[in-house]
Every structure is written in structure tokens, then in C-alpha cells.
Amino acid sequence: MKITRFYILFLGLLCSLPVFAQNDTINVLDEVFLTDIKLKDFSTGQQVTVLNDSVLKKNGALLTSALNFNTNIYFKENGLGMVSSPSFRGTTASQTAVLWNGININSQFNGQTDFNALNAGGFDNISVRGGGGSVVYGTGAIGGTVHLNTNLDFTGKTKQDIFFQYGSFNTLDARYKIKTSRKKWSLSLAAARNSSDNDYEWPIEDRKNENGEFYNSNLNLGFAYRLNEKNTLKFYSEIFDGERHFSLIRPSETKTKYQNFDTRNLLEWVGEFGDFISVARLAHLNENYKFYGNITENQSSSGKAQILIGKYDLNYSISKTLELNAVLTNTYTDGSGSGITENIRNIFSSAFLMKHRPFQKFQYELGIRKEITENYESPLLFSAGTHYDFTDFYSLKMNISRNFRIPTYNDLYWAGAGNLNLRPETSNQVELGNHFKHRNLKFSLTGYYIKIDDMIRWLPSSNNIWRPRNEEKVETYGIEVLAGWGKEIFKDHQISASGTYAYTVSENMNKGYQLIYVPFHKATGALTYAFKDFSIDYQLLYNGEIFTRSDNNSRYNMDAYTVSNLGISYDLGKTSTYKIGARVLNILNEEYQSVENRWMPGRNFNIYLNLNF
């Protein structure tokens, strides 16, 4: 693809609907073999945004930056590249589930994913779906879900992609990807390396970001083999190895660092027998971290967890318009760490889904899920979504669901503090989406309401021991706007624009205060103009003022900030892509912090080379 563009996809619509087929700017999702097939099939009433490869190359390898500039998700980032936790629709960091090829990879220890401990270069696309998803994806799918996907195709072609970017603070972002296939098999291999001295200047005299250096390497493999017409075997594997030093507020502080080493393996057997599609999956996840409280000493605290998942998924198409689906999953986890003695937990879950399109313009889906485990009392989860096309340019989506976030290893087993009587955090939520499409313009306005009960909070109990309790109730509601537009204004002159806006209220119902680090307003924008082989693009991020104190004492608020980036590129290639480009990040040199006393970089630069053949 010559021109970098940003797409907003309305996957809740069936991709085969003619309205999509006419639009060539939509990603060719239905041609590829998406492992997370559920995302495509069971998102009725919800909206899925797809960040494709070209978008993922614009914001460096830190996943936080890519999502921050392109989605409604707000990030609390402890300085560039440091610990980064999301707030999706006003929810907490453990209420956003991250799926790797459909498998939930949130940490067993804290229930979260650190979005700077993933390399955006490892994936073919990243999809973001707002709203509940626990029926299909399990714990943490309350605010929304982020899907890291590897695609496999059987086009018979071989494609290679080399991306090499170097910039300020000795930052390197190198990616190599190869996709090749024959009739019988398909291979995808992606290797990525990201490193940075990350020693940017602070907007304080004589101060710079100290001890902020990091590196990570990521290897992602996908392989599919067609045994025969009916049976396909697929294998996905990922290795991530990273080390981050944690930056200091004062140079006199003790220097610390954090290492994580994660491996993920997934074996899948897909059988298509008439009206039945059977998918058997076996996954092994290995999560390891080490935290060095003082880098000059060789002592660390650590945690490691092995997760073994067996999954059986049977889909039955009663007719062309009616599908039934049953999913049985068993998740076995063996984890231990500093402060946590070895504990094994087993969770069995069964889910039933149906999707029906009684007539062309209307479809709905229903789902329920129940887990069986000795660890906690599991609520019955459900979801119901509908979609109605009123006209060619307007459709309405609705989704109602109950979702949960289960207690983590830290919550349950932390020595002397863990609480075995915790219940899962449970949400009841509803959303209503209005979707407009007119020529090259797409626009959606979604309103949602989420009530979360039994929020787990660590609070001091008697004797001042901090223990987790099902303490809080939170109510979050707001609106989300997504818009996208693209047009060839004259011959060879292409222009495209996209934007997001989120208004978020997230209130502690016990006290009536807005949660800290949840802005009322967040907006993003992107504009790309291309003339023949030349392209220029502009990105904008606005994060509104946030509270840093739980009593909303406005004296300690953090200011709103606007950051924007400008990029240019030129494609030298005739048949293949040989693109050179440069970007200026934070071009207006905004002095800003995402977290109290954690400055982010001012204006900085990078240059890149992208070969695609």
C-alpha cells in the first residue's frame, strides 16, 4: 500500500455486505485468515477499529503511542516508554483485556497489560473494540478489548517488509516481516527490535530524563498447514524479551530496572465439516518478570506464571442466517513470585453464542458464559447485540452485556494480605451506537453506560495491613465519536482524515468523585495528504485536565495537553515500495506530563526507510 492511511472499520456490519465491498479503502480483512475469528463474527452492536501495519509504523514501537494517537483509550504513562496503563471508557487498567490471536494475555499477577511492554512491530494489525467482551474473551473485557493479530493468507505470494527507523535519543525501531505461502501452507514471521537511550531533556533547566533507557526484542511466528480440504493446522508463537530502566524524578534516587520475558504458543486445528466448523486450541503462555530495586545490586523481586489453555469451539450454521456456537475452555495456571507462594488455579468455562440475521437489514446475537472454579463465585455473564441498517447511510447498533474482572494472583495469594474471599468485579453495561456513512465519510456516535460493582481495591485494614477488598462501586458513562474520511480530490491527489473524541465520566459511587487519571475529554486527529509518491501526514492528540487526587481537589490537577506530530515520506520504488521518510514528534514542543512529575519529551525527530517487496 503506497499511501499511509488510517481506517476506521465498522466490523459489526458483516464485511460481506455490499456497502463495504464498494469501498476500496477498507482493509481486506475478509481475505485473510484471522485467527481471532470471534472478533469478526461476534461483535454485533459494537465497533471495531483496526490499526493496520502502516498506521502502526507511524508512532514507533511503543504500543502506548500507537493507541494513544489513534483511539479513544487514555493512557497513564510514567514517562516515555515507562509503565503505561490504559483507561478505556473510564475503567481501570485491569478492565481492558488484551488478546494475542484471541488469547487473553493480561498478567496473572496484576490483571493488567503494560502497553509499553509490547512491541507494535510484532503484529500485522491491532484491533480495538470498545465495550464488554467477557463472554468471548473472559476476564478484564469491561472497558474494551485490544486485539494483537497475526494474519496468514494462502495467496501464494511472498512479501517482505523491512522497516528501519532511527531518531532522537538514540532510538532504534527495526522491523522485518516476511509472509510467504503455497497452496498447502502459509508462513508469517515478524522480528522487531526497539531500543532507546530515552535521555530526553526535561523542561527544567539542566535536567534530563535519567535512567530511562530500554530495549526489547520480539519474534512473532505464524504457520498454517492445510492437511486436506477440511482440516487445517495452525501454529502461532511469540517471544518477547525486554528490559527497561525506570526513569528518576531526581538524580539522587535509587536506580531501578525491570525485565520481562514472555513466550506465547498457540496450536490450532480447524476442521470444516459441512455446516460445522470445529476449532480445537491448545495454548501455553509463560509470563516472567524481574524487578531490580537497585541496579547496582543483583537482587530482584520476581514473578512467573505458566498458563495452559485448552479450548474447544464448535460452530454450527443451521442456515445461512443462523449460527450457533459453543466454546468450552479450561485454563490452568501455575504461578509464584516474590510475596506469592506457588499456587495453582483451574478455571473451566463454557460459553454459548448464537447469531441470527432474520432479514438483510437486521441481525442480532446472544451469548452466555459461566465459569466453574474454586477460586471465586463466578457470575453468569451474558451479552446481547443488535444491528439494524435503517438506510444506506444510517445504521443503529446496540449491545448489552455483563462482564467481569476476576481476582488476580496478587489479590488472592499475596502473603499475609491476599484475600481468598474476593468476588470478581462485575459490570453491567449498555451501549448504543449511531453509524453514518455517506460517500467517503464515516461517522459514528456511541453512548454507553457501565456500572461496575465489587471493585477490588487495596486498602489498609486494622493493623495497617493493606488488603484487597470488594469495596467500590463505579459508574462510568460517556460518548465516543469516531470519524473517517478519504478522497482523491484531483488526479493523483489523495487526502484522508480521521478523528476520535471521547467524553468520559467515571464516578466512584460511594463518594461521587471522578476517578483519578481519567480525563473528561480526549481527542485525536490525523490528516494525510498524498501526491503521487509523496505523502505528508499530521497527527494530533489532546488529553484533557485530570484529577490526581481521589477527592478531586482541583489544586493538584494536571493540565490538559496537546501533542502533534508531522511526517513526510517519499516512495522511490516503481513496482515495490522503497520509502524514505522523516517525522517530527511533538512538533509544537509542548511541555507535558501524563503522570505527576513525569515529563514527556519535547520536540524530537526520526528518519526511516521502509522496503516492501
Partner: protein
């Protein structure tokens, strides 16, 4: 940072202005220089701040409890105090504030709070400070779970240059001096220790080590005796059994333990030990207890229970009043409540910062 301090200054100025509106004879003219002894007659509240947030602060309360002035360090000096204020020590001229996560000691004029110096070298997880013989001694945990890197850092009290260190056992916490000796409680850091060491400040060597109850959290000297309160090993400790707290009395003429009062339940973990006018006070499970120094048994009844406090944090007794810090949810400003001995609240303030952990009196 500039912007924040500007905000703070604005906030404080507007606070003064609002106060001055409330009373006609209380008008403060900002053009007129403040008297030298702005902070001479009252107490300082040390707000620890959030760990890793660099938002520690100090508030000042007048002796008549009429007003709490917050953020006095950043207001006077235009810079932030630091991360996780652990303790404050006053001598005749200066206040020394130990900033635990920042690994610094902030030294200010105690009457104006003007910044004098910041000790930035040679500190690693510093905790408490004392001065003797023109020297500053600071206890340091090093890595809180490493039992071989703990030390006392020594500085010249006029030049603030480092003059050496003294290696001690795991987790040196409170440090006091008396009669030219230093007494250090080895509390244990993230582990559990059970010793008092006595250091000669001339040779800077450990002379005596005395074994007492687990996890000593307070030391005080009265009439030739060293009193130690040990909190005991808490229930959440890993690999060590829970133990009850205790009070030990050590005769300093021969360094022998003459009395040891052990709390009846292993879940009893007392703290905030103080001696005021020959009476011992301490807190346990949100209640305050008292006993005579001469008592041979622990009291069964408490004086009263602090029912208003959500998260019991700082505590001090001075001149008939009990000063309490309530950390609330640890993520918003705490509450200072001043009680009399009947358990009545005499005065109550927003503490002006997160997690008020200590009170320090100017007289």
C-alpha cells in the same frame, strides 16, 4: 515543575488573601517583609506524599490552632520538597527533612524555611536523622530486603560533607543521642530485626548491641534508662512467625534489660511509644493507652479510641494534646485532628498533603 510551583504559589497566596478577608485586623501586606520568625510558635506536619510521586510537603499550624499553612517548603523556595518525606529533625537553627525515595536530606532555616542545603550524596533509602557533636547522622536501609548494605551516614554539620559511614545490621530506623552516645533501633527494613546498637560518636564504632523484641519502632531515654517499643513481627510476614509487640527498659549504666513487658496476643503490634512527664503512651489498634513509667504491667483499658480516623498514620503527644494524622485513602490530602485527653477533637485541618506521618513542635 515551574508551572506547578507557580500554581502552588498562587494557591497559597489566594489562601492567605481569603484568610485576610475574614478578619479586618489580620490584613497581610505582601510588600512588607515577613518577620524573621515566621515558623517559631507552632508545629510542622510532615506529609509523606505518595511513594514515587514526588509530592511530599510540610504544613505549619500555629500554636493557637487557628490556621494550617500548607506547602511551606515549596512556597518559600519555589521548588519541590521531594519524594516520601520520612522524618524531620530540628536543631537550634535548622530543620533537617529526610526524603526517603529521593535519597536526600533537605536542610532549611527552621524559622523561615528558606533552603540552606540539600545533602544528595551517600544516602540510600534514608530514614531518620540526629545531630551530635557538630555531626549529622542518618540511618540508611540500603536495599530494604538486603541485610548487608545497611549503614549510618555521617556528615559535617557545617560543610555538609560526607565524613564516613558506620555499617550496622538490617534496617536501622530511629536514631537518638544522649550524653554523647548514639542509640539506633535496628527495625529490619523489609525484614525483621531485633536489636539496639549503641555507637560512640567519637570513634564512630558500634560499642554495644542489645537484643530486644522483634521490629523495634521507637526508642526514648528517660532518667538513665533506654525504653524501646518493639512492634513484633506482623501477620503478613513471610517465612517468620507472627510475634507480639513488647516494651523493654534498659539500664544504661550496664546496658542490661531490667524490664520487659510483652503484649498478651501475638496479633498485638503497638506503636507510637512516647514518654511525657513520666507517663508512657502508645497506640494499639486505633486506641491510645497510658501507663506510669514505674508500672510493671501493661494497662488493660485504653484511654480512648480514635473512632473518627480512617487510616491511622502520624501520632504525637505534646503539652496535653494528642495530634493524629489520618491518611484517608492515601490518594488525597489527609486530615489532622487534635484531641484532648478526654478524646474530644479540639481542632481539625486538611493536612495540606497526602499521608500526614509526623508532627514536629517548634518549642
Amino acid at each position: 515543575m515551574k508551572r506547578i510551583s507557580k500554581l502552588l504559589t498562587m494557591a497559597v497566596i489566594s489562601g492567605l488573601f481569603l484568610n485576610s478577608c475574614s478578619s479586618d485586623d489580620d490584613v497581610v501586606d505582601p510588600e512588607i517583609e515577613q518577620p524573621e520568625s515566621t515558623y517559631a510558635d507552632g508545629l510542622f506536619v510532615l506529609n509523606e506524599g505518595g511513594f514515587g510521586n514526588n509530592n511530599s510537603s510540610i504544613s505549619y499550624i500555629d500554636n493557637d490552632f487557628s490556621n494550617l499553612e500548607s506547602d511551606i517548603f515549596s512556597t518559600v523556595n519555589g521548588s519541590s520538597l521531594g519524594d516520601t518525606g520520612q522524618s524531620l529533625t530540628l536543631d537550634d537553627n535548622y530543620a533537617y527533612i529526610v526524603m526517603n525515595v529521593s535519597n536526600i536530606v533537605q536542610i532549611v532555616d527552621r524559622y523561615t524555611f528558606e533552603h540552606i542545603h540539600t545533602i544528595e550524596e551517600g544516602l540510600s533509602n534514608p530514614r531518620y536523622l540526629t545531630l551530635v557533636d557538630e555531626k549529622i547522622y542518618v540511618t540508611n536501609w540500603g536495599d530494604a530486603s538486603n541485610d548487608t548494605d545497611d549503614y549510618i551516614a555521617i556528615y559535617n554539620a557545617s560543610t555538609y560533607e560526607s565524613t564516613g559511614t558506620i555499617s550496622v545490621g538490617e534496617g536501622p530506623e530511629k536514631i537518638i543521642n544522649d550524653n554523647n552516645k548514639l542509640y539506633v533501633a535496628l527495625q529490619g527494613g523489609y525484614n525483621y530485626n531485633n536489636k539496639i546498637v549503641i555507637i560512640d560518636p567519637i570513634s564512630n564504632t558500634v560499642e554495644v548491641s542489645i537484643e530486644i523484641g522483634d521490629s523495634p519502632n521507637a526508642i526514648e531515654i528517660s532518667d538513665g534508662f533506654l525504653w524501646v517499643m518493639s512492634g513484633g513481627v506482623p501477620g503478613y510476614a513471610q517465612g517468620v512467625g507472627e510475634t507480639a509487640g513488647s516494651i523493654s527498659k534498659i539500664d544504661l549504666s550496664n546496658n542490661e534489660i531490667t524490664e520487659e513487658l510483652i503484649f498478651p496476643n501475638t496479633t498485638d503490634h503497638p506503636s507510637n511509644f512516647e514518654i511525657e512527664d513520666d507517663t508512657i503512651y502508645y497506640t494499639l489498634n486505633g486506641s491510645v493507652y497510658s501507663m506510669e513509667e514505674s508500672a510493671t504491667e501493661l494497662p488493660e483499658e485504653s484511654l480512648f479510641t480514635f473512632t473518627d480516623i480512617t487510616s491511622f498514620y502520624g501520632f504525637e503527644i505534646e503539652d496535653g494534646y494528642l495530634y493524629t494524622g489520618d491518611a484517608g485513602d492515601y490518594s488525597s490530602n489527609g486530615v489532622v485532628r487534635i484531641y484532648n485527653f478526654e478524646g474530644e477533637i479540639i481542632s481539625q485541618f486538611d493536612s495540606g498533603g497526602v499521608s500526614p506521618n509526623g508532627f514536629y513542635f517548634t518549642d
